[in-house]
């Protein structure tokens, strides 16, 4: 912990007077506040809560896969009746809601909602978002959405094996469009769709807000190519959201209408479902898949681009070295986003899509590895020749790179259509997306929590506990998800409540049990994270304005920043990655430091009286 440890402590003392401020930010959390920092923290705490909910649902899934049809402890007693046994309907509901919670209430809101909100104004030197009220709404609308999801779990027969949406998070019709097709999903599916629409509205509000803020409210001197990668990531994510999400919202309305008003966009006529009368209709089910993936493929990049941005910033700071290839990094981010719009069909290779489309989508999908490759190599290049500090932030960032490579490479297998014929809808897919979603994004988020925590609360998080959390998460994660590749190759289909019905899968049971064990380790490791977050509020080492000796604008504001963020309006003179400049004494060069400064001042900290 060379240079960081050396200087970080020095600014501690000046800010002990901020104690009052620090709590003020937190105290606002349960209430309506339009301050972007409060909203960011609200989002962060909510998503961590939801991570536990989604994780508990995942553990339910894992239970059934390793101890099929045995009574489930804890969760079983709570939810499933029939003596705690997981019924097939309940299993379907478990993985549907697991994915829903993780994607719509954890990953998307933690990136765009929590870090987007907290960081965008601070990193561009603005005092708040462009539309603070809209911003607050975009948080509070999460709760009705969460309520809808909860309602979708308890509707119909109440908490029970027959309740809940039963069509997976992809919600393919006709299963999702015809109530008779999934007995018990009656209103549940409707509530689910309503919930998705509401999170959609929330993200849409957020994205318009972020775009406006980033375009129009940058501090003087902060040109586009001086923006930190985090901001680029958030900006491009917002663009993706803005242009892809409305399509899903529209499709969601169509599906809702199919269920409720008797329309038939996704229901062909003449289907005999569950011995009911043949359907009256005329629509096409594939239309939903196209519209859904037109959003949800860009959405997977929504779930990773901000993390890529944050990792770039953290890596550069932790290695005390400029980001390797800043412009290629920006362009590749944009290229991923652009290509991301034209690859959605790779989820539909074997869905009866026109084969010519299949080929087109294969080529575009494989080519998306190119900008990703540029990013990976540039991250490695950033560490190369740097002076890394092996702290929790850095470890999580390295894990991000390492895991993203695995998840990305498995993406190539699936992008190759002939191979996808075999591995589609097997656990290979499940492995792939957990590697990118948890392995990459969540580790990035863990790092980001550690990194910006001092800015949020004015205190450091514990390094020791952080490392333990990292170690257990990493080991548990790989223990859970690496074997899924092998299950996939062995042909184990996903969304199976009982794969062992098939002789050729029987011998995979022990492996599955090992994975469940690892999942428990990983799951319980998250308690360490939560403990670390809570305890550090009270006992963490106090941090000054710039605990990591970083260059970004956010570090020139007090920790935690008061309302309006900056006590001195920042003016930007350079990019955010001028670490270890050979002509300077200190190994960092804040963006706001005027170039004509007669003597390099190591610690730029004018100690203004707190407001």
């Amino acid at each position: 912990m060379s240079s960081i440890a050396a200087t970080a402590g020095s600014s501690d003392h000046g800010h002990s007077a901020h104690g009052e401020d620090r709590l003020a930010l937190l105290k606002a959390v349960p209430f309506w506040s339009t301050d972007h920092k409060v909203i960011g923290i609200q989002f962060l705490l909510t998503t961590i809560l939801m991570l536990m909910v989604g994780g508990a649902l995942a553990l339910g899934v894992r239970w059934q896969l390793s101890f099929p049809w045995e009574n489930m402890p804890i969760l079983g007693a709570l939810f499933a009746n029939a003596g705690g046994q997981v019924s097939p309907e309940f299993y379907t509901m478990l993985f549907t809601m697991h994915a829903t919670v993780m994607i719509f209430l954890v990953i998307i809101p933690v990136l765009a909602g929590a870090f987007g909100n907290f960081l965008i104004p601070l990193m561009i030197g603005a005092d708040d978002m462009a539309f603070p009220i809209l911003n607050a709404l975009s948080y509070w609308i999460m709760w009705p959405a969460a309520f809808c999801f909860a309602a979708s779990m308890v509707f119909n027969d109440g908490l029970g094996p027959n309740a809940g949406p039963a069509a997976g998070w992809t919600s393919y019709p006709a299963l999702s469009a015809i109530p008779e097709a999934a007995p018990g999903s009656g209103w549940a599916q409707f509530w689910w769709l309503l919930g998705v629409t509401l999170v959609g509205v929330s993200s849409m509000m957020g994205s318009v807000n972020y775009m406006t803020t980033i375009i129009n409210m940058r501090a003087p001197g902060l040109t586009l190519f001086r923006m930190p990668m985090t901001i680029w990531g958030m900006f491009i994510t917002a663009i993706l959201q803005a242009f892809a999400l409305p399509v899903l919202t529209a499709a969601g309305f169509m599906l809702m209408a199919d269920r409720v008003f008797g329309t038939c966009f996704f229901v062909p006529s003449g289907l005999v479902v569950n011995n009911a009368a043949p359907t009256v209709g005329g629509g096409q089910t594939l239309l939903w898949q196209h519209l859904f993936w037109f959003y949800s493929h860009p959405a997977v990049y929504i779930m990773v681009l901000p993390a890529m941005g944050m990792v770039s910033d953290m890596l550069s700071c932790m290695c005390r070295k400029p980001l390797f290839g800043y412009k290629p990094m920006v362009y590749s981010l944009a290229a991923i986003a652009g290509l991301g719009f034209i690859v959605w069909g790779h989820h539909m290779f074997i869905s009866g899509m026109n084969p010519a489309l299949g080929m087109t989508f294969m080529v575009s999908t494989i080519m998306i590895a190119l900008p990703s490759a540029v990013k990976v190599f540039n991250w490695i290049g950033t560490i190369w020749g740097g002076r890394p500090v092996f702290n929790v932030v850095f470890l999580n960032c390295v894990a991000f790179i390492s895991m993203f490579i695995v998840g990305g490479l498995s993406g190539i297998f699936m992008a190759a259509v002939p191979v996808d014929i075999y591995i589609h809808d097997t656990y290979f897919i499940v492995a792939h997306f957990h590697y990118v979603l948890f392995g990459a994004t969540l580790f990035g988020v863990f790092g980001a929590i550690q990194f910006w925590y001092p800015k949020m609360f004015g205190r450091y998080m514990s390094e020791g506990w952080g490392k333990l959390h990292f170690f257990l998460s990493f080991a548990g994660f790989n223990g859970t998800f690496f074997p899924m590749h092998l299950l996939g190759v062995a042909g184990m289909p996903r969304r199976y409540a009982d794969p062992y019905l098939y002789p050729y899968l029987e011998h995979l049971l022990p492996l599955n049990q090992f994975m469940t064990l690892s999942a428990c380790v990983m799951g319980f490791a998250q308690f360490i994270l939560i403990g670390n977050i809570i305890l550090s509020w009270f006992f963490g080492k106090k941090a000054g304005r710039n605990p990591w000796n970083a260059n970004g604008l956010e570090w020139t504001a007090p920790s935690p920043p008061g309302h309006g963020n900056f006590d001195i309006p920042p003016i930007v003179y350079r990019g955010p990655y001028e670490y270890s400049h050979p002509d300077r004494e200190s190994d960092f060069w804040p963006q706001t430091e005027p170039p004509e400064a007669p003597k390099p001042v190591p610690q730029q900290d004018p100690e203004p009286a707190p407001a």
């Binding site: 663009i239 242009f243 003449g270 043949p278 005329g282 594939l286 719009f341 026109n354 010519a356 489309l357």
Partner: protein, 138 residues
């Protein structure tokens, strides 16, 4: 309505634009009344719609007087909007595989209606008749 000629910052003859839009609408409706080949009609009517849209955007929405950012905002949506439809077409509009629905097995004969505008006529739907080849699917 001549008071529209007030001069404000961008000098636009809003009333003129308005008249142009009305004329376009009238032409569209006129196409409906005259005999004209369907393909020509589709082309013309869509062209007119596009023209109207451009009128509204350039003058009423003041895009003519905005900076280059307008392209940055509008070009991606335009490309995506058209692209989405083009990408949907091979699957949804043309069918690579045989359809297997009752409708797709019927032969629909339309005895083209005699006139256009007997609005909400007294009888029910009367012009179209289908000769469904006896739906033998079930």
């Amino acid at each position: 309505m001549d008071h529209a000629h007030d001069d404000s910052h961008p000098h636009v003859n809003y009333f003129g634009v308005f008249i142009a839009l009305c004329i376009c609408t009238a032409i569209s409706v006129a196409f409906d009344l005259i005999e004209i080949s369907p393909i020509l009609l589709v082309g013309l009517v869509l062209a007119i719609a596009l023209a109207k849209a451009l009128f509204v955007m350039t003058y009423f929405m003041h895009l003519k007087f905005e900076g280059r950012w307008k392209f940055v905002v509008l070009a991606p949506t335009a490309v995506l909007a058209v692209g989405l439809m083009i990408a949907l077409a091979p699957d949804m509009a043309m069918h690579y595989y045989t359809m297997d629905t009752p409708q797709s097995k019927m032969v629909v004969v339309t005895h083209g209606g005699d006139g256009h505008h007997s609005e909400e006529g007294d009888e029910g739907h009367h012009a179209e008749e289908e000769h469904a080849s006896p739906s033998s699917s079930h």
